[in-house]
């Protein structure tokens, strides 16, 4: 009976440790930002949804998958970007 209790406790402990570790390691690091709320270097939980004002944008690195993702606030009207100056016409 004691052995069974110990086994159950051990399994529970291992499971909670696994959950804690996997949860702690899944996060996002801000790598580019124009938002004061989320400076470069800040870390967020991977399930966080950043609150961004219009025109604000942050890029994060998802860990541990090492993929990048961009979050943007509502789009802000901006003047058109001038065209490229290279490469589209060989003539």
């Amino acid at each position: 009976m004691r052995l069974r209790d110990l086994t159950c406790a051990g399994v529970a402990l291992a499971l909670s440790a696994f959950v804690a570790v996997s949860h702690a390691s899944a996060e996002m690091q801000v790598i580019e930002s124009n938002s004061a709320r989320y400076p470069v270097g800040a870390t967020l939980r991977d399930d966080a949804t950043p609150t961004l004002a219009a025109g604000e944008q942050i890029k994060v690195l998802l860990l541990p998958s090492n993929r990048t993702k961009v979050f943007s606030g509502a789009s802000k009207a901006s003047p058109g970007v001038p065209g490229g100056t290279r490469g589209v016409n060989k003539q």
Binding site: E32, R67, K69, V81, T85, G87, V88, Q91
Partner: protein
């Protein structure tokens, strides 16, 4: 009874006006082999991967990177040298360098960049433009740099549709044709593909775009130069991010090398040239193609369209306008289905013109030979 007739007359006039307007929009002079809606189709129905491309990393130099430097253009060569060395140090599969080195700047910095490129352990592919004809016969600075660097070279051109009668819309949809007589016959992406041990001969010039992945990550892992050089507060596992990847280094500046693509439809968003090269590279690595019908087959489809149109033209009475509208809609639908299910670019314009010519011929032949 009289009141009813007026309603019908008004409805008829409205219908004719609406249909004429629709025809004007739908049947304007063709800009290219496809209907104007083809960009929308490309933007919505191109391949959407599950997640970020696993083989390609982009490193951008942008205005923020160059804040500590006294000038934006040409890009500081010492910075580029440091960047090449930093990337090379972590063991990438290959480095693609999308900067045109066509003018001397500060000699020590120019030399530093040359040494960094020349001595890198990883395969380096340098981007270049066609060589200008020099009246003196002397080699251009670009030619001298490339010769001393002694690395593989790919041209950096992208292409758009050209039509003698209509001005180009400056949208990059195609890979560039090779320029006869120029030393750089293969594109940047093609040469980079060869670093993966593959030879990719393009099956068509259409770029097969990747849409944003389903998991909302970026299409390609993209970092700024200052992150890679450890000049920001972000502390990233840079070696882990770049090791064994094809790393493309290029610029992302608001005033140059920004391009409209089919993905720009609805938003007018411009994409850096580096992103477009990455799209072509991804297509070559993935062996993913948009194909066109060979000319004999295109001709056959057009002849069939004209023949069927002639037959329909002889059958229909006054429903010519409806036939035209329906046929335009049907051909757009065929184009969408061909793209979505067979990655095929349907020759919309040619078939439509053949079909309409067939209908017109059928109608008038009926009058002459009833």
């Amino acid at each position: 009874m009289r009141r009813r007739m007026n309603w019908w007359a008004a409805a008829y006039v409205l219908f004719i006006a609406g249909a004429s307007l629709a025809l004007t929009v739908l049947l304007h002079f063709p800009h290219g082999p496809e209907h104007w809606s083809s960009d929308l189709r490309t933007a919505w129905l191109s391949q959407r991967p599950q997640t970020q491309h696993p083989r390609i990393v982009l490193i951008y130099v942008n205005e923020a990177t160059l804040e500590p430097y006294p000038y934006l253009s040409p890009t500081d060569r010492q910075l580029l040298a440091d960047l090449v060395r930093a990337v090379d140090a972590v063991g990438p599969k290959a480095i693609g360098f999308d900067f045109i080195i066509d003018r001397a700047t500060e000699p020590a910095k120019d030399q530093a960049l040359l040494e960094a490129v020349r001595t890198a352990r990883a395969p380096v592919v340098l981007g270049a433009l066609d060589e200008p004809i020099q009246a003196s016969g002397a080699k251009s600075f670009q030619a001298q740099f490339l010769e001393k660097a002694n690395r593989d070279i790919g041209h950096l051109y992208l292409d758009e549709r050209h039509n003698m009668l209509v001005i180009s819309d400056n949208v990059v949809r195609l890979m560039a044709n090779r320029t006869p007589g120029q030393p750089y016959q293969k594109s940047f992406a093609e040469v980079l593909t060869s670093k993966e041990g593959r030879h990719a001969e393009p099956r068509s010039r259409y770029i097969s775009w990747l849409l944003s992945p389903k998991d909302n990550t970026e299409t390609f892992l993209a970092l700024t130069a200052e992150i890679v050089l450890g000049r920001t507060a972000a502390r990233l596992p840079v070696p882990e991010l770049l090791r064994d990847k094809i790393v493309l280094i290029g610029g992302n500046f608001g005033d140059r090398d920004q391009h409209l693509t089919p993905l720009s439809v609805m938003s007018d968003k411009r994409f850096p040239g580096l992103f477009v090269h990455a799209q072509i590279l991804a297509q070559l690595l993935d062996n993913r193609w948009l194909v066109t019908l060979p000319w004999p087959l295109q001709l056959l489809v057009m002849v069939l369209g004209a023949t069927l149109g002639y037959w329909i033209g002889r059958l229909v009475g006054h429903n010519y306008l409806i036939i035209e509208l329906v046929s335009v809609g049907a051909l757009i639908l065929v184009g969408i289905v061909a793209f979505a299910y067979a990655s095929l670019i349907f020759p919309y314009t040619g078939v439509l013109l053949a079909w309409l010519a067939g209908i017109a011929g059928g109608r008038y032949s009926k009058r002459v030979y009833p």
